[in-house]
């Protein structure tokens, strides 16, 4: 069974993932929209930067974030100047790192969904008196619903499963930054295989059920296969 500490790590993990997913949708939607529609020369560059976490070892990303967000880093100095202190080894730092780490899993399904909608519904909406913003919420969002669903689920589950970045940026502070994946690692290190089994089993079941729901409820093929 799960101990109190294990439950705490589970709770913290879902909290981080929820915050991160919310922020990723907030940032990822306009970003994906821009990427899906722009003809700017910057498109390739931005696409590559957003997709970097897909191929980069998480420790590399975590390392750079640690440097950047630390007391001498650019971001660290800004957060310090804003009176927020430094982010590494805090809950906020963990959320920021998760957002960067999982962003491609949110941006890519959205970008594909937006691109597949094409120009025509936008033009139809314009000739039916809908302003561009109105069109976005009344036409684009409902038409891209499968994309949003995929993005939310992939962003959330991917954040739940992160390990390397957390270890670099968040450490292993109980109740503050210790998430499930780290806790499993702790259990294994301490040769507590039963406890590790329980937690690992929970994560396995959770991920499977979520993906099962995703693949069975969406009639169209989700865009996971386009990620790798």
């Amino acid at each position: 069974m799960l101990s109190n500490t294990d439950l705490q790590t589970l709770f913290l993990t879902f909290k981080v993932a929820s915050f991160a997913t919310f922020l990723m949708l907030l940032l990822g939607t306009p970003l994906a929209w821009w990427l899906a529609r722009t003809r700017s020369a910057w498109k390739g560059v931005i696409n590559a930067v957003v997709s970097l976490p897909l191929v980069l070892p998480p420790t590399v990303l975590g390392f750079y974030l640690l440097i950047l967000m630390g007391p001498t880093g650019t971001i660290g100095q800004i957060t310090h100047w804003l009176g927020l202190g430094t982010l590494p080894f805090t809950f906020a730092g963990l959320v920021v790192a998760s957002v960067l780490y999982s962003l491609p899993f949110v941006v890519q399904p959205l970008q594909t969904a937006f691109a597949s909608i094409g120009e025509q519904p936008l033009e139809a909406a314009a000739t039916l008196r809908a302003s561009p913003l109105d069109t976005f919420f009344s036409v684009i969002v409902p038409m891209a619903k499968p994309g949003f669903l995929t993005a939310t689920i992939l962003g959330f589950t991917h954040t739940v499963g992160e390990f390397g970045v957390v270890l670099m940026i968040g450490g292993n502070i109980p109740d503050k930054t210790r998430v499930v994946s780290v806790q499993i690692y702790n259990h294994v290190e301490a040769l507590e295989y039963t406890e590790a089994h329980w937690l690992a089993g929970y994560l396995l079941a959770f991920s499977f059920i979520v993906l099962l729901l995703l693949y069975t409820t969406l009639k169209t093929q989700p865009v996971t296969h386009q990620l790798k």
């Binding site: 519904p121 033009e123 139809a124 909406a125 000739t127 008196r129 809908a130 038409m143």
Partner: protein, 359 residues
């Protein structure tokens, strides 16, 4: 008084330039006619504001929609227009009713329930309201799209080849609705097509475009009977006459119609006496004789006066004939014209081998 519609656009794409200066009437259907690549759809999109011509001036019924000199460009969603796309372009996430309501919710002057019902009936889509667009045939989708545009009570209705994506059967299904619109609508309609038949059936005003330029424009019959249209060289010259049904000879499967200048025998039309119709006569179906032909199988022989001769184009030419108040075009070879010694003022007989009846 300024004309109801003034449209001037200059749009340069490098390999294609649209350069038009048009003044159009405030009622009836204006057909923008031309081959693909002639710029007719681009022109329509410029009028709608879907395409932004760098230089342009557009005034519809006293309201200026674009004036590049004053850096004025009204975005499409602020223009009081209805637009029908080549593909019906319905919102796939909304029912037919949702599609119809989409624009309605966004206009200030509300369409009342009676007008709503009238438009549904006019287009025959009452029974489709609860369906999703994917469950409709192409023809039904296009009728919904037309209704969706009309419900906005637009100042002008723009249609971009609304029948082009449909098969012949669906075309026949929608054309009567469009002809109906013609009689019910008080607003100007601009209709883009490359189909001779749609043009002849629907147009009141004809604008022929070629390579991004207006070649000719004016009232349909008058414009078609000119000798300087691209139709002449394309072997597509034809004239459209308004006529009235005067008699059915059902034993012969024929109908006699009256036009300004005589009568014609046409294949039997199932319509009442006195119904106004349009008759389209292709120049290639008209031949000329100097003497009144006797013992001929051709029923429609009309006496005519030559009023114009086109330049010869690879041994082919078009003769302009006056018959009563109507003008008829005859496509003949240069050789025949020389043998018969055709010239302006000569009295001849025109034999019409084939006609098509519109509406």
């Amino acid at each position: 008084m300024s004309p109801p519609i003034t449209a001037r656009f200059l749009l340069d794409y490098g390999d294609f330039t649209l350069n038009v200066d048009l003044q159009l009437p405030g009622t009836g259907i204006t057909v923008l006619f031309g081959h693909s690549g002639s710029g007719k759809t681009t022109l329509l999109r410029c009028i709608a504001g879907l395409q932004h011509a760098s230089q342009g001036f557009l005034e519809i019924n006293g309201v200026i929609w674009q004036d590049s000199h004053r850096k004025l460009f009204m975005p499409p969603h602020k223009r009081a227009l209805g637009y029908v796309f080549q593909e019906a372009n319905l919102f796939s996430h909304l029912t037919v009713e949702g599609n119809l309501q989409f624009g309605l919710k966004r206009i200030e002057k509300k369409t009342d329930a009676i007008a709503f019902q009238e438009i549904l009936e006019l287009l025959g889509i009452n029974h489709l309201l609860k369906r999703m667009p994917s469950r409709l045939s192409g023809g039904e989708q296009q009728r919904v799209a037309i209704a969706r545009a009309l419900l906005l009570k637009p100042e002008i209705l723009l249609l971009d080849e609304p029948l082009a994506a449909l098969d012949l059967k669906r075309k026949r299904e929608i054309l009567p609705f469009l002809t109906n619109l013609h009689q019910h609508l008080a607003i100007p309609v601009i209709y883009v097509t490359h189909s001779q038949q749609e043009m002849a059936q629907l147009a009141d005003t004809l604008v022929i475009l070629k390579d991004g330029q207006t070649v000719v424009s004016g009232p349909l019959s008058e414009t078609l009977s000119r000798l300087d249209t691209p139709l002449i060289q394309d072997y597509e010259a034809n004239t459209v006459w308004p006529a009235t049904i005067i008699e059915h000879e059902s034993g012969y499967y024929l109908t006699r119609v009256d036009f300004h200048g005589g009568t014609l025998s046409l294949p039997l039309i199932t319509a009442a006496i006195n119904t106004p119709i349009r008759v389209q006569i292709y120049a290639r179906d008209v031949s000329i004789t100097l003497d009144s032909p006797t013992n001929t199988s051709i029923l429609n022989v009309l006496s005519a006066n030559i009023i114009g001769l086109s330049d010869n184009h690879r041994g082919q030419m078009v003769v302009q004939l006056q018959i009563g108040k109507q003008i008829l075009l005859a496509h003949i070879t240069l050789k025949s014209s020389l043998i018969l010694n055709l010239k302006i003022g000569l009295a001849v007989y025109a034999q019409i081998k084939g006609t098509s009846i519109l509406n």
